[in-house]
Amino acid sequence: MEKVDIIIGIASYNNAKTIGHVVRAVDAGVAKYFPDKKAVVVNSDGGSTDGTPEVVRNTAFDHSAIFLSHPVYPAHRISIPYNGIPGKGSAFRAIFERAVEMGAEACCVVDADLRSITPEWMELLLSPVIKRGFDFVAPLYNRHKYDGTITNSIVYPMTRALYGHSIRQPIGGDFGFSGPMAEFYLKQDVWETHVARFGIDIWMTTEAIANNFKVCQTFLGAKIHDPKDPGADLADMLLQVIVSLFNLTEKHFEIWKNIRGLRDIPTFGFRYHVGLEPVRVNVERMLDIFRTGVKDLKPILIEILGPGDFGEIDALIGHPDKDFRFPIGLWVRVIYDYALTYHRKKMSSEHLLKSLVPLYLGKTASFIMEAADIDHDGAEAEIEKLCREFEERKDYLINNWI
């Protein structure tokens, strides 16, 4: 197979509506920023029935519309169906395979349902690899202060506390990475596990930082994508993300138990604030589920948290809605206790993580009310406090990891 310099992977499944825009942005970006590199767009498709691969092949982009001169090597496009367990992970595996076969120097992956992608994203995701020798480029987005609550209240602080890298969006979905990084991913024996289905994002991030690859972040602006399937169940989402997080925690115990402190990682891109759509929240309903959950799941929660922390949570349900606050220290103990219970395999992981939903909603409701009157930076400061708490209590996790 002929050698290429850059591979841009797009995993898709029934994204005919949006993927055209993504492909055009990618094309323009590569042509503008890497005119002398050979680039291939690899669309790894999970058997779409709406003609997604055709859209990829047929999307026309008139280079003369924005460029004075044509690029030396216009980006090729290939669309490949992948085999194996259906899921984003398997799609990425096919992309990694191509990257290794074609000897690509730099790669990136972007979501197929992005509406806010611009040609600059190519520069932002690929240059750190090509020009600065980084192995892994994590994204940074401007998000509404209420968005990304699973990331903000669990995944980001815990990953940061465990591995000492402050990657703000460990499950962002758009990443840049080097050829050796792709090779490393491909060699891991995870492609028959849950990683093949979901959790590939947190897996890529964690493996990169846990194995001491050179990691950086890049600011991409806003991330707006097609509204997710409204039927997508929060419990399933939480289950998938946290199972991935806990499995990695399990795997890398020997690494993270010795990590102390925080390493700053370089951040590229120009930071700016963008206007964001308003977000609708229903705090009452969240608190309602929190309260019934604490009452009805009492025996399960006691088994996980122990009577002491459960007592503290139980005491919260008496607070009226407007004064309701979930203490961050307690939240950290909750998450660490869940991680420990998962580690000890005392309970089916599905039951375990789904029983976290009411507590998570309580914590989220509390955060939304705290953040109601503060700006973006204020909300970030709150998250920073939470991270410190996770770091300070890390010993608890280590000492009880038996």
Partner: protein, 233 residues
């Protein structure tokens, strides 16, 4: 006179003859029982060794088996306890086999019935244990799912699921034991059907208001101001 002595001694002679015929059986019984008890004891020792090696005790502590036997005020180590239970079971079996060696008809019958029944009894116990575990698992899954969808009577539903399942398991165990099969099946059908009907009515009647509220709420929610939901990830 001779006849009288004949009459007098005949029973003794008969007894002697019976005894001579029966003695080997008695000996066999004693040997089987004693050897069996020794064997059972040895098996117990081997089992104890194995249980120690696989850390049965700590496993039992962690899954709560120890706490369960402590509830019955048993304070031996779990491995000792189970070793002893196995010993007792084996001892009973060997005593039975020993009695069989006597070749007394009544005991024979009893024994064969017992042996025939043993596998059924064991499988009934197994059904009960597994059923109990599955019932707990199922009802917990239902409980969590119901809570997460914001249903206020989650506990009730979960208990109902557990109850129904346990009724089913009990019926299965009874059928396995072949105790009055017909009655069990009839009773089960009536009970199970009755519980389902009762629940349906209870939810129906009690749920009219709830359903109304839910529908109204859903309608209101649709009318709510535009905007997207928060993204959790």
């Amino acid at each position: 006179m001779e006849k009288f002595s004949e009459i007098l001694f005949q029973p003794f002679r008969d007894f002697w003859q019976w005894f001579v015929k029966f003695a080997p059986n008695l000996m066999a019984m004693l040997i089987i029982i004693i050897a069996g008890l020794i064997l059972a004891w040895l098996i117990r020792l081997v089992m104890l060794r194995i249980l120690r090696v696989i850390n049965f005790d700590t496993w039992s502590d962690k899954v709560g088996l120890t706490a369960l036997i402590r509830k019955g005020d048993v304070w031996a180590k779990p491995s000792d306890f189970f070793g002893y239970a196995v010993y007792l079971l084996l001892a009973v079996v060997f005593v039975m086999i020993g009695l069989d060696a006597l070749q007394i008809k009544v005991i024979d019958n009893l024994l064969s019935q017992f042996l025939l029944y043993l596998p059924r009894a064991l499988s009934a116990i197994l059904i009960l244990i597994i059923g109990y575990i599955i019932a707990g698992f199922l009802s917990r899954g239902v409980l969590i799912a119901a809570v997460n969808s914001g249903y206020h009577h989650a506990k009730l539903i979960a208990e109902a699921v557990r109850l129904l399942f346990i009724i089913l398991v009990l019926a299965m165990a009874l059928v396995e034991l072949t105790i009055a099969r017909g009655i069990v099946i009839a009773a089960f059908s009536i009970l199970f059907g009755g519980v389902v009907l009762a629940l349906a009515i209870a939810f129906g009647v009690g749920g009219i208001d709830a359903a109304k509220r839910i529908i109204e709420k859903a309608r209101e929610e649709k009318k709510e101001e535009k905007g997207r939901d928060i993204e959790h990830i």
